[in-house]
């Protein structure tokens, strides 16, 4: 709900939120009603009974027990009614169902460490399935914190020395704010992140992939997918060197350009020739390659470079090209990387079409949000 792009309500994304909002809005209605009575009443009386105005001031009222009791008892009853609904909501919030899946949370200055039942760990991000009750069991490692998910309307203190609980059933797929809501020191306001509510199938897959949406793939695999996606192979074929120089086996070799200069084909050269192909036109070719500046992310480029580095290195005969080969030896500018890469097995099969976060094999899964948040 929003008013000219100003949000007026948080997302309603859990079962608790669905019960919460009617109670909240009932209180809003009640408040508006009584505020209007008092504001209109006070201003009306101030004008009507202003000194000097003709108004009936006879038989002024100083005591009136029935009236007093009325406006004592009616607010009392209204209050008790709101108490009843508020308490019912509260009892629901404090009573997790027995079949709730347990996830564990440790709060510490200044981050959240979350652990799923099967051992998957994440920091500052909480992945949950939609439609299934989740119970968080939480404890602090140092000072008081609080785990707060506004979109779910749930919050609970996280206390050192004892476990506290919070439960909900997410109802809408999406990403929602997660905040620490108990002052805990310098970086209290940076101790947040997100809650990712996923389709149960996706969640199950995420969980079994160790906290990734798909089985992680190597950079070379990812690069191969980018290569296919952008159709590099339309021009840069293994054998076909008519339209464009072959990329197979080029890494570390010297490239000669139309203007007579030359460069070793290292990582930077490869990247440059993707984003600014006309800086260096290979001898024998013209300006036909599209410019990919701005169309590929740096991550894509890194993956592409990684892929290009390895294509052709296993081939017994790198394809010939009509590039003039200088006699310069294959001086490799990044010797270490080349040898490291060549020891990686190339995994060519990429069956999953989804884009996915990739990482170097062996690197830990770190939520992007965590990195964002703490560079201050």
């Amino acid at each position: 709900m929003s008013f000219f792009n100003f949000p007026l309500a948080p997302p309603r994304a859990s079962n608790i939120a669905q019960t919460y909002d009617p109670v909240f809005y009932a209180l809003v209605g009640l408040s508006i009603f009584f505020t209007i009575i008092v504001c209109v009443g006070a201003i009306f009386f101030a004008i009507r009974y202003k000194a000097g105005t003709k108004a009936d001031r006879s038989r002024p009222m100083y005591e009136n027990l029935p009236l007093e009791l009325t406006w004592t008892i009616i607010p009392l009853i209204l209050g008790l009614v709101m108490f009843y609904f508020g308490t019912a909501l509260f009892v629901k919030i404090k009573t997790p169902p027995k079949n709730a899946e347990e996830i564990y949370v440790i709060g510490k200055q200044w981050m959240w460490h979350i652990q799923h039942g099967n051992g998957v760990r994440e920091n500052n991000t909480l992945h949950v399935p939609v439609g299934k009750p989740i119970k968080l069991t939480m404890i602090s490692q140092d000072v008081l914190h609080a785990f707060y998910i506004p979109a779910f309307r749930v919050q609970m203190g996280v206390v050192p020395g004892r476990y506290t609980e919070l439960w909900f059933t997410a109802t809408e797929v999406g990403e929602y704010h997660l905040f620490c809501n108990m002052y805990c020191g310098t970086q209290h306001s940076e101790m947040g992140g997100k809650v990712v509510a996923m389709d149960p199938k996706d969640y199950a897959e995420w969980l079994s992939n160790g906290g990734q949406s798909v089985a992680p793939m190597s950079m070379e695999q990812a690069g191969a997918k980018v290569y296919a996606r952008v159709h590099c192979d339309n021009c840069h074929g293994a054998e076909d060197t008519l339209h464009a120089p072959s990329l197979y086996g080029i890494y570390g070799k010297r490239r000669v350009f139309a203007d007579g200069t030359s460069l070793i084909a290292d990582d930077e050269y490869i990247r440059d020739s993707i984003v600014r192909p006309y800086d260096h036109i290979t001898a024998g070719y013209g300006q036909t390659m599209p410019v990919y500046q701005g169309q590929l992310t740096e991550e894509d480029l890194l993956n592409l470079v990684a892929y290009i580095k390895v294509i052709g290195t296993a081939l017994p005969n790198p394809p010939t090209s009509n590039v003039n080969r200088h006699s310069a030896p294959t001086a490799v500018s990044h010797t270490n990387e080349a040898s490291a890469l060549s020891t990686n097995a190339i995994q060519a099969d990429t069956d999953d079409p989804d884009a996915s976060p990739t990482r170097r094999v062996g690197a830990p899964a770190v939520g992007a949000v965590a990195a964002e948040g703490r560079n201050r």
């Binding site: 100003f6 109670v23 005591e63 979109a151 002052y183 020191g185």
Partner: protein
Amino acid sequence: MSSTVIPSGELQPHVDETNYLNVSHTISSWLLTGDHKRIALLYLVSTSFFFFLGSVAAGLIRYELTSPAGVVLESDTYNKVFSSHGILMVFTFLVVAIPAIFGNFLVPLMIGARDLAFPRLNLASWYMYMTGGTLILAGMVFGGVDTGWTFYTPYSSMYSNGQVTMVIIGIFIAGFSTITTGINFVVTIHKMRAPGMTWFRLPLFIWAMYATSLMMILATPVVAITLLLVVYERTFKLPIFSPELGGDPVLFQHLFWFYSHPAVYIMILPAFAVISELIANFSRKRIFGYHFVAFSSLAIAGLGFLVWGHHMFVSSQSMYESIVFSLISFLVAVPSAIKIFNWMATMYKGNIRLQSPMIYAIAFLMIFTVGGLTGLFLGAAGTDIHLTATYFVVAHFHYVMVGGTMLAFLGALHYWWPKMTGRMFADGIARVNAVIVFIGFNLTFFPQFIVGWLGMPRRYHYYYFAPEFQAYHIMSTLGASVLGLGFILPAFYLTKSLFTGEKASANPWGAHGLEWETSSPPPTSNFLETPIVMDEVYDFDPVSDHAEDLRRIAEEQQRKLNDSNRPSEDHN
């Protein structure tokens, strides 16, 4: 108009004669005074100073929050700034201001006494306040505290690196100022009422001050010892609240809020006291339902001791504890509602003068209603779960503290200014100022309800996870600039009135009450002779008062007519 007091023929001293202000001019006559009225002025100056510092901190907070990634402060500094704002405003201004300034000045006058029961204790009270306040400031200057005004453990006792000990000792000493003031008021009200001043002839101001004093006396010692334990823990690395050694951090919260919830009623009951006086006197009508209003103050004081757990619904206290605290919280809302309705009923068929104190009183009615109603959202445990520790709470308590207590403070300052200083100020600009305050206040704090409901936590320096909150913060800061203007202007026009204001008569507002039966400013001993009270309180008759008004208006018109018919004469 009322009655009593002085035998006929006995004139009140003319203002040129000796009064409590001009009776002596030496510094020691001020710093060693026992006169409750001089002590009230000492408090006025010192509380205004602390309020100013607290407002500067507020300005910094609002400025910093205009951008999700902050503007000029580091997080550590920001955390110290919001903590200072809370500590200064709560402990050196809100708890102190209305009781120590207006309570001190008016309690003896309103009951017909010459002074409070223990004048030297009253002076000691001011010195304790100044000592405590100075220590608090010293702590802020020499490193500051970043724990928030609530000092939750174990952060405050085991982790924070600020001047926690120094500031807590300052608060501890200032707390004794509150306790001694409370003792003084209770004894005075019980024992020193003038002949004929029965309990039910007391102005409602006195009832509310009495209820406030009971809370001051019983609640303050608890927070004093609790904060002392935090210092004890911090200094000697003791386990009282630390979980590693078997202590309970939530125990601190129970002890802290056992005081701090009554503390908020200590802050608002004096405001209610003022509003009763303003509405009765500016409506020229006895407060409707006097007995209900008087007892509602006592009910708030009593019930106020039983609701502290509503600050702790997510602290890990048990569900059953929470439900009980929630129920009693709804009960304690009822006496406040009664007051609002009774005040409105007082205005009905009254003879209302819309001078500046009344504008503040009407603004109070409107703003406090919103503040009180939003308390219901927080008292209902279920809805509190989402709203607690967000800007919704911040908005709620600023509505009742600033929109409530501060507006009443300004109303009281304007209303009793001529009595305290003997000078009248320019009411025109004062009325405009009241409207500026009202508008600025709502612009500042209403957006905070929304941004809190959206999920913006309090005590947050950065909110770059949620940049959608920025628009509301900017609105709030713009409002704060207007509000700031409304707070600064009185400093100018009130000070100006000291030099150029018209000399005030004994009763410039035509009000009722013993304080208006003596000169403005009063003599040191308040009354020349001990008054004897024969009339009921707020003894107005709106019908004859209205007739009086009509007559005065007719005279005014006649005079204007006469003046315009004599164009050749000089107009003086």
